[in-house]
């Protein structure tokens, strides 16, 4: 676990030593600030973070692949994966470390929007239940997205390919669990609706943290991380 934490802290630091981390963070803070100002800080609007959290859910679709794309692809491209894999650290620890690094950066990014909660507190009396549940939901969705991105990053040397593959996967998932599910009859639509991220996210936005949603995101994240471990291990057998 110590090795995984060493890798995670190196990943978070690497995000801030390269321009991509600062660019992603600055864009997200800027856009979320604008959205918060335009949608929430308006007369007559409820004192909630719902608009910003909904917005962040969609932004995450772009941001999560941007964070995850470099996790392995960069090491594979530069060859630094060999010195890493010649240490006595297990492939699982390497994947978990990289993933936690990405998740740590995402956490920092989401934490930056807590300033808006402070602003809301200053001008109104917000209900903290939906805010806490909303942030928990965002973090879970982000964790799921990052796990998908980690898998694709472990499969290619090219960061752009990793980014696009992750993005197309999300688009396919949204299409299957949205428009396609609506077109299909039972029982196919029932199965596809269970994969819908927005439906689960809506519950979090209402202030409800349901165990089945938590299990869904955590379980699928584990599946994709296991895939990333398999992709990494396969390098030793190819």
């Amino acid at each position: 676990m110590r090795a995984a934490l060493a890798i995670a802290s190196r990943e978070v630091a690497a995000c801030f030593r390269t321009s991509i981390g600062w660019v992603v963070l600055a864009l997200y803070v800027l856009l979320s600030g604008l959205w918060f100002g335009l949608q929430t800080l308006q007369p007559g609007e409820p004192a909630s973070m719902r608009a910003l959290l909904d917005f962040s859910q969609w932004i995450l679709l772009m941001v999560a692949p941007a964070i995850s794309m470099r996790l392995f692809a960069e090491e594979l491209r530069t060859g630094t994966i060999d010195p890493l894999m010649s240490t006595p650290v297990s492939d699982w620890s390497i994947v978990i470390g990289k993933y936690l690094g990405g998740l740590g950066f995402l956490g920092i990014m989401l934490a930056a929007t807590l300033i808006h909660v402070g602003v809301l507190e200053l001008v109104a009396n917000p209900d903290y239940g939906p805010i806490i549940a909303g942030y928990a939901g965002l973090l879970l969705v982000g964790a799921f997205y990052l796990a998908v991105g980690t898998l694709f990053s472990a499969m290619t040397k090219n960061q752009v390919v990793a980014f696009l593959a992750t993005l197309f996967f999300f688009l396919a998932l949204f299409f299957a669990s949205g428009p396609l599910a609506q077109q299909l009859g039972s029982p196919y639509n029932t199965i596809l609706f269970t994969l819908s991220i927005p439906l689960r996210q809506a519950d979090f936005a209402k202030g409800v943290i349901e165990t089945r949603h938590v299990v869904f995101f955590v379980a699928w994240a584990c599946v994709f991380l296991a895939g990333a471990v398999a992709a990494l291990e396969s390098r030793r057998w190819r």
């Binding site: 110590r2 090795a3 060493a6 890798i7 190196r10 630091a13 690497a14 030593r17 390269t18 530069t78 060859g79 630094t80 060999d82 010195p83 890493l84 894999m85 010649s86 240490t87 006595p88 650290v89 297990s90 291990e233 030793r236 057998w237 190819r238």
Partner: protein, 314 residues
Amino acid sequence: MIELEKVDRSFGRVHAVRAVSFSVPAGAIVGVLGPNGAGKTTTIRLITGLLPPTRGRVVLNGAEVAPERRDLRRRIGYLPEANPLPAEMSVEGYLKYRARLFGMHGRSARDTINRTLDRCKVTDMRKRRIEHLSKGYRQRVGLAAALLHNPPLLILDEPTSGLDPAQVLETRALIAELAGQHTTLLVSHILPEVERTCDRLLIFAGGKLRADGTREALLAQSGANRYIVEYKSRANANNDLLAAVPGVNRCTTQSLNDQWTRAAVEFDTDVTDAGARLGAAAATHALTLRELRHDRPTLESLYISLVERAEEPV
């Protein structure tokens, strides 16, 4: 310390390494030579456990190397070809990171890092980002990372590749210093580098180990017993007359521009007085000589002949 037993490694239909067997005792400094694509780096990756063999066994200190034997990785310090390093990290930051991956913490990790920085003569650059270092310094950082956990086996893959002559000399001197303290495998396709640093050579070509031994033993095994004779050409004379000398198994002649002929005369390896025989033949035929010398085989000529032999169609 290391033993390879009939090791094969294929990538699909490509046989990168075929039936390679050798052993390296503890403390030896072994040069691994061969042209690009000879199977050197694949063999090294098999020893480090980064690749498993398709067939055969790699044994390190009595334990079979396999990807799941993570404990064996502590015994190996590996500087990969092209020395990949995280450009955005500082020298010290990178070594701290590596120390944590090898389970070192606290004061002992700090002391080890300081010692390694000193040993690799990179202390003055410890705060510098790796991307801002010269190639020579980067190579030292790569060496420091490979040495940090004080491994008994040090594997250096093309450590002077891409360096300027001054940096090559610096790096070579550093390797020579380190080599006495670790069993060392030095991979290179630069002959003088390996010749000067190593006490034993492994020559690879076409995925196979073609030669294994000390420089002197390899040259002795090469079997060449060749003399060069330059004599004044004579009109209407047989320029192959040295071919008739007893013990000669091959004689090739070449007319030089200035009325002289150069003959390369190969004797059977058991002929010990070849020079005297050639001298007597020259006297018999009243040849005017300007040169008669034993053409001693060099590592370069042996290497080239092995590589050329490997490239010949079967």
